[in-house]
Structure formats: structure tokens, C-alpha cells
């Protein structure tokens, strides 16, 4: 007994856009799902192409939205509401689920051909030769981006450009809301603590360092020097710390000059590691960092961050007693 074929269209309704907006703001993060199974897009014949995707609304809608005017089938795998690439890395968008979903939907009875168009970023979870052996279906890896599908369908060939993953300014800006929501609690705690310990100016400085890591960093990523995300973060954090550091000289004009220099130095020690720690954590959101590289970054930079931050805090506390 195979599961029913649902129908869908390429139209993205206002309700869909609202759902995407909520997903981008991390509201009900795991709840943006469509039912796994087979969907008819338009009026497909038994020769119509079959597109495989995840059961995350953003993935599913991006696919169908890109297929305006195309009659075909969409096979949504159960990835528990996770996008194709992340689910493939985890294996839920994978060979087993694909083979089982083909059987459960009775796809062999629905289409005459034996070809599946699988998004290229699903490849970490799908062994094409295994799928062929176990289900009889040939996996054809389509382009990275669904928007390239109409062009791809003309020749069934992806250009080298279509095969490359990007991380454009728009891609990076899209991530900011979810990064912001994720950082909200630590942000509030840090603001309260720094306000209680050092006053409003301290809270402002710490807040600026945090927001630099969460909001400015995704925007500026490719233009900040060096390859390591932590180093990029130290540079950005240093720039943010500079005005707070220099402000010490006119705010405390009555202090002895060595106290002024020490206090200015304290800000340069405390703030950059805050930004750098956040930018190191952005590795999970990029499209290019390897696990080996990230591990090496952690070992190289986290101790430095801890020492600088700890040293700066100790210095700042000592200065409060001295001034």
C-alpha cells in the first residue's frame, strides 16, 4: 500500500512567506515541515522528472518556487524539518531514507523512467551507486541552487558555476536574525553583568563587541583580512574596541597618565576576544570551513581569547581599586 500523492504548485503564497520569515527568526525552529512523500507539481505525466528534497518548508518551497511552468514530481524525504545540506551531513537526507521513501510512495508505479534529480548538496548523505543497486533508480545530481534548475533541465547538464557553493552577501545577511536570536540570552546576561560591574559605558562597550560578532561579522566576512575566522574576529573586535579605549583619555582626564593607559589597554584586552569567540562560532554557519581546520582554530585561538579576556578583566578590576 503506497502513500497518496499530494498536489502542490510553484506558487509561494503569503502564508508561505510568513512561515519562511518565522523560520529565519528561529521561531519554532524544528516545526517548519511538510509531510514527507510524493507531490505532483502541475500535471505530471509518467515521463515527468522527479525532484528529491527535504521536508523543511524553506527547502521544499525553494524547489517548487523555482519550477514555475514545470510539470514534475517532488519526493520530500523525512529530514525532520532540516535543510538538505545539514540533513545530508547528518545522514537523515540519505541513501536509506531515499530508498525507503521510493518504496513507500510506490514511485516505480508512478513514473516510467528510473531517474531522480537530487540536489548536489544532498550528496554527502546519498551514495548514488548504492541507490541504483537497491532501488533501480539512477541518481542524477542537479545544481547546488534550485534557481538554476530551469537552465539545468534544458540540457541536463550543470555548468561548473552551478556546481559551486557560494556564500554571498545576501546569504550571509539572511543568517543574521537567527544568529541574533541565538545570541540573545548571552547578550542580555553580558549587558547586565557589565553594567553592574562597570557601569553604562562598560555595558555599551561589551554590547558593541557582541553585536560586532553577530551582526557586522557576517556582512564583512570576505573583506576582513586573514583566513581564520577567529583572527578576522580579533581584527574586527580591535576596531570596535578602539573608540572605547581612546574614550578613556577624555572621560578620565583627571587620572594619572599611567592609569589612563592601563585602562585603555584593559578595553583592548577585553573586547576583541568577545568578538573573536563569536566569529569562531560562525564557522558552523559558513559554507566552507572544514572540521579539521575548525579544530585547529579552536586549539590555536581559544586559549589566547581566554588569557586576553581574563587579563583584561583582572586589570579592569584592579584599576577600580587604584583610581
Amino acid at each position: 500500500m503506497s502513500t497518496p500523492i499530494r498536489s502542490t504548485s510553484s506558487r509561494i503564497a503569503p502564508a508561505d512567506r510568513w512561515d519562511h520569515f518565522l523560520a529565519r527568526w528561529a521561531v519554532n525552529r524544528m516545526g517548519h515541515r511538510v509531510e514527507p512523500g510524493l507531490y505532483a507539481l502541475g500535471s505530471p505525466t509518467p515521463d515527468a522528472p522527479v525532484f528529491v528534497t527535504a521536508n523543511y518548508t524553506l527547502s521544499f518551497d525553494t524547489l517548487r518556487g523555482a519550477l514555475a511552468g514545470v510539470d514534475g514530481y517532488i519526493l520530500a524525504l523525512d529530514t525532520h524539518g532540516i535543510n538538505v545540506w545539514c540533513a545530508a551531513g547528518k545522514g537523515t537526507f540519505g541513501t536509506d531514507e531515499l530508498v525507503q521513501r521510493i518504496a513507500a510512495t510506490g514511485l516505480t508505479e508512478v513514473v516510467r523512467h528510473r531517474t531522480l534529480i537530487v540536489p548536489q548538496l544532498g550528496a554527502p548523505g546519498v551514495a548514488a551507486h548504492e541507490v541504483k543497486r537497491r532501488s533501480g533508480f539512477k541518481v542524477e545530481y542537479g545544481p547546488v541552487r534550485a534557481t538554476d534548475l530551469p537552465e539545468y533541465l534544458k540540457s541536463r547538464h550543470a555548468t561548473p558555476e552551478m556546481r559551486r557553493v557560494r556564500f554571498t552577501l545576501a546569504d550571509r545577511v539572511t543568517l543574521i536574525p537567527v544568529e541574533l536570536v541565538g545570541a540573545l540570552l548571552p547578550l542580555l546576561i553580558a549587558l547586565v553583568v557589565s553594567c553592574l560591574l562597570g557601569g553604562l559605558m562598560s555595558a555599551l562597550a561589551v554590547g558593541a563587541a557582541l553585536l560586532a560578532g553577530v551582526v557586522l561579522f557576517p556582512i564583512l566576512l570576505p573583506w576582513l583580512p586573514t583566513a581564520d575566522l577567529s583572527m578576522k574576529g580579533f581584527i574586527l573586535g580591535g576596531l570596535v574596541a578602539l573608540p572605547f579605549s581612546l574614550a578613556v583619555f577624555w572621560r578620565h582626564g583627571d587620572w594619572a597618565s599611567w592609569l589612563q593607559v592601563a585602562s585603555a589597554l584593559a578595553w583592548l584586552l577585553i573586547l576583541p576576544p568577545i568578538t573573536a569567540f563569536l566569529t569562531l562560532n560562525f564557522t558552523g554557519s559558513t559554507t566552507f570551513t572544514s572540521r579539521t581546520g575548525v579544530r585547529r582554530e579552536i586549539y590555536a585561538y581559544v586559549p589566547v581569547m581566554a588569557w586576553l579576556f581574563g587579563g583584561g578583566v583582572v586589570l579592569q578590576i584592579a584599576l577600580r581599586f587604584l583610581s
Binding site: Q120, G182, A227, N281
Partner: protein, 99 residues
């Protein structure tokens, strides 16, 4: 300097390659290119340091010519795993980022 991404775990055994080209197809960073050597086509690693260890090439290589310790390059997940002593969670199990 300040580039910890110049080494990774990607290993390619040209002797085992049957020239199917799947690695070049699935790689999102154009690490592989197909070359004609004598009468046959084989894959070559042309951008080794661009590898992000996603594992797509290894999974789709029918002759086991590729080895890579695949995983998610996510510092938050690694640090959390190190602190809690649990295995690395990937996207979806926690508040992990990545869309």
C-alpha cells in the same frame, strides 16, 4: 599565517580511480578535476585546501578511492562536545546555526 585551513584529511588514491567523475560532480568547492592520462580518464585533486570535509566525494566514490574524515566544521558543536563530554551534535539537535 593565520590560516589553519591548509591541512585536512582528504586522501585520494589514483590507482583505485575508475574515472567515473562522480567526485568532480558532487564537490561544492571544485576540489577535483577530471584529467585524461594516457588512454584513460582519472580524477585529480586540483584544489586540496578548498576541501571542507563534507564527505560527498567519499560517499559517492564507487571504488573507495577517496578517504576523508567527514564532519561538520562547527566550532559551537565541537566546544559544546568538549565541555559536556558528549559526541558532536550537528545541526538540528540543538540550537545550532546553519539554516
Amino acid at each position: 599565517m593565520f590560516n589553519h585551513y591548509q591541512v585536512n584529511t582528504l586522501r585520494f588514491d589514483a590507482e583505485k580511480c575508475n574515472g567515473c567523475g562522480m567526485c568532480a560532480t558532487v564537490c561544492p568547492h571544485a576540489v577535483f578535476a577530471m584529467n585524461h592520462r594516457r588512454a584513460q580518464t582519472v580524477s585529480t585533486v586540483v584544489r586540496p585546501t578548498a576541501c571542507m570535509e563534507c564527505g560527498a566525494c567519499q560517499v559517492n566514490c564507487p571504488t573507495d578511492a577517496i578517504a576523508v574524515e567527514s564532519g561538520v566544521g562547527c566550532a559551537a558543536a565541537m566546544i559544546r562536545a568538549a565541555l559536556t563530554g558528549q559526541k558532536e551534535a550537528t545541526c538540528g539537535e540543538t540550537q545550532c546555526d546553519g539554516g
